[in-house]
Symmetry: C2
């Protein structure tokens, strides 16, 4: 098998995660070991950087600095929301060819994997030998072929720890607390809110996922039921919840609807859905102490809450991507497979199996009443959260007999 010799380009696309730079470091540190990769360039702002020849020469980075960068959230090479079309791709190739690039690594979600697919097809059509490898990354955990995706475990840990604290807060000052979690079509991250429940009455008591139709009336009845049972209620709701006609609740209620270059409605960066649900609870259930938080950008980029399992898997996904590229012959997408309890391995799968597809929560992870997760989901999630996950405790002191009042 003839070795393919040339430069490599690595880029990062889409939203940030806590471990996206682990994958970058994995690619960079591994690429340095293979002589057929003559140089590693980092494209600034994703494919846009390729288009505009905005490259950093990562071969000149020190391993020490790459390891420090690996520990920081959000794309160190900066990112883009651009989605290349045929014309865009022609320009990409002009740049890749001009720089003798033979290896292209793109770290991103399902939109980015579709970009890699287009680039690989364009290369084949142009008769240009290029190994294009997509490396998985998304807090949404919605990539096909993957047991889970780098970035999700750390975001899940943030969300779980947030609900653990919110639960203690709500227990000490009771009322209704609603938190809106990211997840347009897949409810994994919202579902992760349940991972910190310890005692039987711990919240979130209700979990609403985009995989099931959301009904205002059922929501209000659910909240009313929990309030009657516990005197308090914590709700986790996906930003992407939609009614039975697939109309996003947030969109139905937003005065103005924004769309990005992929045609996605902009759901994040606003507290609207939470505020609306909170106002609904106040008005319809006559509950005065109702509060809403939207976890917003914190859940995807918070500095300092990270799963070490996620870190090492993200790193290894980058390393494996380089290995597949230099020793194999095909383009593809690196996918994480669970092979034990708990261990993983990595496969190179066809780009078409991942590109622009969305995986959602399997039915086995969603409670039949559509307002909670199942124990099977918690079993799936727990090993991903990593070591040092915080534990909660309660006072167990006995009550003192009253001397005065009843």
């Amino acid at each position: 098998m003839a070795q393919l010799v040339g430069k490599a380009v690595v880029a990062q696309g889409g939203g940030p995660t806590a471990v996206i730079n682990q994958t970058l470091a994995g690619v960079a540190l591994e690429a340095m070991k293979h002589p057929q990769i003559t140089r590693l360039y980092g494209a600034v702002h994703g494919v846009r950087g390729v288009l505009n020849e905005e490259f950093l020469d990562l071969s000149q980075e020190t391993p020490a600095n790459l390891l420090r960068v690996a520990g920081a959230p959000s794309s160190a090479l900066l990112s883009t929301r651009d989605k290349p079309d045929e014309e865009y791709c022609r320009k990409l190739f002009r740049a890749l060819k001009a720089h003798d690039v033979r290896y292209f690594f793109y770290i991103g979600g399902n939109d980015s994997s579709d970009t890699v697919r287009i680039v690989a097809e364009q290369a084949a059509k142009d008769g240009y030998e290029l190994r294009a490898v997509h490396l998985p990354k998304t807090i949404d955990n919605d990539l096909e072929e993957n047991d889970h995706t780098p970035g999700f475990p750390s975001a899940a840990r943030f969300v779980a720890q947030a609900f653990m604290g919110a639960n203690l807060d709500n227990r000490s000052l009771p009322g209704v607390y609603i938190a809106v979690v990211m997840g347009r079509h897949a409810g994994f991250l919202t579902a992760a809110g349940a991972a910190g429940r310890t005692f039987e009455d711990d919240g979130p008591h209700l979990v609403y996922l985009p995989e099931r139709p959301f009904s205002k009336d059922r929501f209000l009845a659910d909240v009313d039921g929990v309030m009657k049972r516990l005197g308090r209620c914590i709700v986790a709701v996906s930003e992407g919840v939609a009614d039975d006609q697939h109309r996003p609740i947030a969109t139905l209620l937003a005065e103005t609807v924004e769309r990005d270059a992929h045609g996605n409605v902009q759901l994040s960066g606003s507290g609207e859905l939470g505020d609306l649900l909170k106002d609904l609870v106040k008005k319809e259930l006559k509950i005065s102490r109702a509060r809403a938080d939207t976890f917003g950008y914190l859940q995807r980029s918070f500095m300092g809450v990270v799963s070490d399992v996620d870190q090492r898997e993200a790193r290894e996904a980058g390393e494996r991507g380089v290995r597949y590229a230099v020793s194999g012959e095909a383009s593809g997408s690196v996918a994480i497979r669970r092979v034990g309890d708990y261990a993983v391995d990595y496969a190179l799968v066809p780009l078409s199996a991942v590109a622009a597809k969305t995986r959602t929560m399997p039915d086995a992870f969603i409670a039949p009443a559509a307002n909670d997760v199942t124990p099977a989901f918690l079993d799936y999630l727990r090993p991903l959260l990593g070591s040092g996950f915080p534990e909660t405790a309660r006072l167990r002191a006995p009550r003192v007999a009253k001397l005065l009042g009843p």
Copy 2:
């Protein structure tokens, strides 16, 4: 000096912090060592628990469990927003006397210290010997007599880490990002957002505090200036920002205004202020990518982000409170004093010096332009954030020369 022998009651009031149970554990573990405290009761839901004789017998708690509880955020004894009046206090005394309570420890903020003051005065008036000690707690850092208050350092660390991540996020996908931080009258917590800035162009680039009048026009001009300079802009804004006639911006804009039992306007638990400022930026500056987050309850109760300096000071404040009560003769409030760089000591100050007073940011901590903090503030804050504060890093690889484009 005759020893005062009897039971002790400890209670927690107001909003949660990450270390409020350290102070509870400090009181409980210390109280067990002093024979004049015959039993330690914990009042459930603050003064309301005293009123209703809802006591837990903390003398029966194991030290092991107290230490585990100490590590969890939010009042383990549960909390209250009640503010006792004279009638309420008569009922409190009836309960305290009936149970032979001679020591009363109340962990809370300036509202809670006012409660302790009323209780102490009522006790004196009734000729009932009672040592009432207020133990400081508030993420707002707004207690007089204190260099800083337990709970603030951990919340400050959360806010700083949140902005560190938001800065990296915003750098990779540029635009305007606005985050609303808690702080009704004191801007300390919002100001803490600046503590994670490392590189010269790191955000938050603008910091708006309630200590200075907020003007929409100046805000828009500031954002416009940063955008022109850096192509991106991160704004930290206190929920309590007010115009030059002291009208809270949030209140001016909120359709409905809620007040709690203390007459405070409800500013938290809603994304309104952030969304409004974001819409203003979009409309007036024609910037399409503007986002807003409201850190909300996460900053006061997040599980797993805590300053170890804060933990040990909160614990010691509880221990010192018990020592002052059993060995001294006066009621009072425990205050933290900075005595070195960095070390602290604790004083017992008159309740009237703390009760219902609000400390705000000194002028030396606020930049003259009223849109940033000063280096003096960062010097003040940094030792409080504790060990293991995350560091950020950037790629330093050189640019590659373009072969095609200009």
